[in-house]
């Protein structure tokens, strides 16, 4: 099966430091790829090149088989690559549907020339997407500040899905959550996979990564040191790959 997104020989330097060195990887539709590595291994830099925050110094990105230049976050959004950052980027003072539509508000005309927010439309559409993701929030008119961490994560995910994300990049999706909520978010990731969305998950929680991912890509000091099918590896091997205890590095294109 062809890759939804494929990066080839991606490189990023900051002055003398090579943050990402010649990394190639791919994600298929309906596949979850776990991106693993210690702090400073280059995970964040790699996804920031995919989400348009950084410009690569070398290498190519292919999306749906075509080469693309992702030179801004807006460009990434326009080709349906959505990124969920750890801080979620929700406006806590706004309600649920306003956040889902933030920056892309649906307007309607009154008196034929005044554009006003179409709150009912945004409310109903948001309700549909939350339903599709089996997320329950008490009321979509509640401000984000009244929601729990898991609910906020769910709202952030629904926002990406509403705008038809094909590739979803999640940076530490379970980091700030309680155990029950972590489980729910993992369940949501599986649901999205079943709906054909490609997902890259960055996480330090090995257990979480193992429970949702199909494949693992392991980075160390900017280089890709291994790629493993989840079924053919175990946490012990992965930990030693992350810290570099074993010489098992093998390049795979």
């Amino acid at each position: 099966m062809e890759y939804l997104i494929e990066v080839k020989n991606l490189t990023k330097r900051f002055g003398g430091l090579v943050a990402v060195d010649n990394v190639s990887m791919g994600v298929k539709e309906g596949e979850v790829v776990g991106l693993l590595g210690d702090n400073g291994a280059g995970k964040s830099t790699l996804i920031k090149m995919i989400s348009g925050v950084y410009k690569p110094d070398g290498g190519k990105i292919f999306f749906e088989g075509k080469e693309v230049k992702i030179d801004s976050p807006i460009k990434a959004l326009s080709i349906a690559i959505e990124t969920l950052y750890q801080d979620l980027a929700l406006a806590e003072n706004l309600n649920v549907y306003s956040n889902i539509f933030l920056g892309r508000e649906k307007l309607r005309k009154v008196l034929k020339f005044i554009n006003v927010l179409d709150n009912n439309y945004m409310h109903d559409e948001s309700k549909k997407v939350l339903k599709r993701l089996e997320i329950e929030v008490p009321s979509l008119r509640n401000r984000i500040s009244t929601l729990s961490g898991g609910q906020r994560q769910a709202v952030a995910i629904s926002r990406s899905i509403y705008w038809n994300a094909k590739l979803l990049i999640m940076d530490e999706p379970t980091a700030a959550l309680g155990v029950t909520e972590q489980k729910k978010v993992l369940g949501l990731i599986r649901l999205l996979r079943s709906q054909g969305i490609g997902i890259i998950v960055i996480s330090h929680q090995l257990y979480d990564v193992f429970s949702v991912s199909d494949r693992l890509v392991i980075l160390r000091r900017g280089e890709k040191v291994a790629e493993r099918n989840v079924k053919e590896t175990n946490p012990d091997e992965v930990v030693s790959l992350i810290v570099g205890a074993e010489k098992v590095a093998q390049r795979s294109d």
């Binding site: 979620l88 929700l90 920056g103 892309r104 006003v116 927010l117 009244t146 909520e181």
Partner: protein, 359 residues
């Protein structure tokens, strides 16, 4: 995920403050009106209400300016002196045009239009400093106080702006409807009356004009994309940027809007007092900010509304007028308003999250 439920904890005290937090301002305003009606004879009367409304335009405009700026997460300390600057500029321009032989009304209209164009420049500068050059709003707008104040004084050169056309004063002291029984009815502009004529005035012009602005901009803030983005920037500027909102341009517009309202306040001052003064708005800066905060806005941004600010304004105006009618010196008003402000901030802090819940 069907069993995610709301996890906000409510204990008795928080619940009490949250209930109070949403409504205390309006309750306080009613209590205030009732109190003054009882202890101050003549307070609860048409005349008493008219006096409050006549004194309202400056605080209304400046607090409207602050409402937008504070919700966006900033503050504009320059509104008072931009108001003074605009009063000087418009008064000088109108006098100059009349001096050139232009008709009175035309001089006023042209003077206003030019003043509005000049008056938004301080806001443009503030906006560029804050949004593009990352100067903290407090510093940027504080510097603008000095600049606008200095220029105003230079323009006046220590003297007094005289010879404004009388029509200006008739607008500033007129009412929406002015009736001289049996003789004339006029709108907005007060009629010339003879000795012995009775004059019935309904709603001062200086209140009607800001109120039209309030209606319009309450709508802008609540129901348009511009308003929504203002809240989003104040709530979480990173979220706004990532959502594709052009935050820099938006903030520049907000500070220009703030200067625009201050400029209109300055023009109102010219109509009301038939002169321009460099420090015309100096007294109203604090009242304007306090009205916004008493009304329930958060100084951290993201929370507030035009209607809440209006309630805050009237808490101050009623207090001021009530105390004045009792013959209490003005300093006491400052003390009382200071205490109310502390009370408002405490309520905001004691009711985390819940107060911010939207119904």
């Amino acid at each position: 995920m069907a069993d995610i439920t709301i996890t906000t904890r409510k204990n008795g005290l928080q619940k009490f403050f949250s209930q109070l937090g949403n409504r205390w301002a309006i309750i306080f305003l009613f209590l205030e009106i009732i109190l003054f009606s009882i202890i101050s004879p003549g307070f609860f009367s048409v005349k008493g209400a008219q006096v409050i409304l006549i004194n309202s335009p400056f605080i209304l405009f400046l607090s409207l300016a602050e409402t937008f700026v504070i919700i966006s997460g900033g503050i504009d300390l320059s509104v008072g002196f931009v108001m003074g600057f605009s009063s000087v500029v418009s008064a000088k321009l109108i006098v100059a045009f009349v001096g050139l032989g232009m008709n009175d009304l035309l001089s006023i209209i042209v003077g206003i239009v030019i003043t509005l164009c000049i008056g938004i420049i301080p806001g443009l500068v503030n906006g560029i400093l804050v949004a593009r050059l990352k100067v903290p709003p407090f510093i940027a707008t504080f510097s603008m106080i000095g600049i606008t104040h200095g220029i105003s004084e230079l323009l006046i050169k220590g003297s007094y702006i005289r010879n404004l056309p009388p029509i200006a004063g008739r607008i500033g002291n007129g009412s929406l409807i002015n009736i001289v029984p049996g003789k004339t009815v006029s709108f907005f502009i007060s009629p010339t009356i003879q000795r012995g004529d009775q004059l019935i005035e309904i709603l001062p012009t200086v209140f009607v004009i800001p109120f039209i602005f309030i209606l319009f901009f309450a709508f802008i803030l609540k129901s348009t994309k511009f308003g929504q983005h203002t809240y989003a920037i104040g709530g979480n500027v990173d979220a706004a940027i990532r959502a594709g909102i052009n935050v820099k341009t938006h903030l520049i517009k907000i500070y220009m809007l703030s200067s625009f309202f201050s400029t209109v306040a300055g023009i109102m001052y010219v109509f009301r007092y038939v002169t321009g003064k460099a420090d015309a708005g100096a007294m109203f800066l604090l009242d304007g900010i306090i009205a916004v905060v008493i009304g329930g806005a958060s100084l951290y941004g993201g929370i507030g509304s035009v209607w809440k600010t209006l309630i805050g304004c009237f808490i101050i105006l009623v207090m001021e007028n009530g105390l004045r009618m009792l013959g209490v010196p003005t300093f006491y008003k400052l003390i009382v308003i200071g205490i109310i402000l502390i009370f408002a901030v405490l309520i905001d802090q004691l009711s985390p999250e819940l107060i911010h819940r939207e119904e």
